[in-house]
Symmetry: C2
Amino acid sequence: MSEGANGSKVARIGLLGRGTVGSAFAELIAQRGSAVEATAGRRPEISGVLRRSEGDFEEILAGSDLIVELIGGIEPARGYMLAAIAAGKPVVTANKQLIAQHGDELFAAAREAGVQLRFEAAVAGAIPIIRVVQESLGALEIERISGIVNGTTNFILSEMAATGADYEEVLARAQELGYAEADPTEDVNGADAAAKMAILARLAFDTPVSLGNVSFEGIEEIRPDDIAYASELGLSLKLLGVAERHGDAISARVFPCFLYGGHPLAPVEGPFNAITVEAPSITEITMSGPGAGGIETASAVLGDVVSILAGDAPVHQPGEPLNIRRDLDSSFYLHLEVADRPGVLASIAEVLGRNGLSVKSVVQRGLGDEARLVMILHRAAEASFYAAVDEIAGLEFMRAAPRAIRVIEKEYV
Amino acid sequence: MSEGANGSKVARIGLLGRGTVGSAFAELIAQRGSAVEATAGRRPEISGVLRRSEGDFEEILAGSDLIVELIGGIEPARGYMLAAIAAGKPVVTANKQLIAQHGDELFAAAREAGVQLRFEAAVAGAIPIIRVVQESLGALEIERISGIVNGTTNFILSEMAATGADYEEVLARAQELGYAEADPTEDVNGADAAAKMAILARLAFDTPVSLGNVSFEGIEEIRPDDIAYASELGLSLKLLGVAERHGDAISARVFPCFLYGGHPLAPVEGPFNAITVEAPSITEITMSGPGAGGIETASAVLGDVVSILAGDAPVHQPGEPLNIRRDLDSSFYLHLEVADRPGVLASIAEVLGRNGLSVKSVVQRGLGDEARLVMILHRAAEASFYAAVDEIAGLEFMRAAPRAIRVIEKEYV
């Protein structure tokens, strides 16, 4: 660390990337530098900025005490981070894809070099879930983390529920309002949430988890009448990330699901994020706040910078690899459009029964010469459920492809 | 730190007090010692326990690397903590009264000795609010912290709302269920919440705040019909702690209040705690979880132990003392029992108007020859409101003492 002009100790920050988050971060550093100095003993100053068109990485690295990586994407961000770590410089990043896909390599490099690698901003914007899972709850046996970790999809689902409008219409509105990007693919198909759940599962279960270990489904197929049925049943529809411990194995998944009204994540509306952590000794803790806007993400980055200036902390070191389970049990909502004639319900019930599935509730509605069957099934092996749905899809009286959405009921949590 | 029998590095913990929390902590240490070692590099072991009837403090101190204080109360806990700090031993405590009343002395001693003093368990059980305010949000300008920080009173108010039963009946039930102590005074009169708000205000605003700076009111006077009226108006009744910044001054208070339905703390029911932190760059973050049971508190203590083993961190250092404002503006609910005859409402309206108070809504109900007037008043200086209420109380048509409860409406937050 070097001496500033006024004699105070300065921490020189090399800033990689100056988009929305980078600009908000530079502004926060200017506003809150004295507050950081009061807390951490050193005043952070930006000593160099690397943009696509400007700046030399080697020069910025040599002139900085720590690196803040806000470029995003895999390369060149990965190369820069490894170089910074090798040079003994602590790194703060908001790059969820990099941590989710190359976490093991980066953590190993940071441990070897003995430098901190912090990434609070990679998950859930300003909600300090990384620190809470890693530090506050770090010694507890976490059983499950459930999260609404993508603000775009939560906004879309909330709007669909509030207005009855269909997916495409609400997506267009979200894009106008800046809640969805021009290319929303990674958000709406669940991939963005999956990267965040990979990071949370790794920290919660102290085991290597990468993006490929997280199965994900998106919200592109959700129709307004699914949400209307959910609402009739007192359930709300959310895109949920769930990482769970199953004895010696774990699972990590992202899927749209119906959530019972009393679930701590059920009231989370609009572009908000929220995460519930369950462990025997704490029951559950829920944290909620705005999703990852520029200023919220920059605030999380600043928190990490303060932590680095304030003192040492161990780098994440995963324990034994745990098996990733994909053969899980779930409860499902099943929506079937069928010909309205006698025997149809009996045929469907026969297929379900033969696959070991039992029906919790069923509503049938006539629509001219068609009928709609909406069922909630009791918890059972997902493989059995999908086998039954495949079989039902082939029955001659079916008028459309079956639609299935998981249900999280009270007993599950 | 010393070598354990198996060659692993051991952190010797001197445990002061072995009541509910102390026993739960000892059990957690036994269960989670290896997990802590994996994270922090050292295995915590309890090297000595001080009970009322057993153990010698000096001996325990000499044989330990850090001290966990779970005795509670002011003395001898304060003397033990100062002695431990002077001996260069880090201290973890769950003692809210000690931090709220003697924080400045303890923090100064810890800074001078260069040892950590951690107290996550002092506020909101397992919810890691201290760490989040001090570290994650440490560099931000926090504007307001609002919290339900006493589980006993939240349980009582939730039960009163759910059952319509009166305060004494629900308090007795809470005592049976273990949610209220045999002597519930400190919980129900707001003093316990005030100690927690003193700690949160100190950390949020980086200024010395002690218990005497926090004004508090309790829930002893709440009647079932207040809650019924609130519910009719779409409001819920909570005992809230609020610490706010007002330019160069701050305020910290605890009071029962009606909360609008969309407030992040409105859905918090039963013996739960929840805290909302507001700052310009994060909008708001809310954290919720179970209140301070033995195991939840022990989990928070363990988190602090892990942090101490994992690395250094600066001790809280307050900045300039800020003025404590008590002359605040609020919106109020006002409940008046009056003789049912012409001119009564006009007389009351005249008093309110003369004191600069305007009525937002009023409901009048006849009850034989009496009537009940329930009003919600617009935000105004509390001093004006109380002056008006004093005057109204003296009017000859009043049939009972006026009842007033603050209202937190949407525009307030």
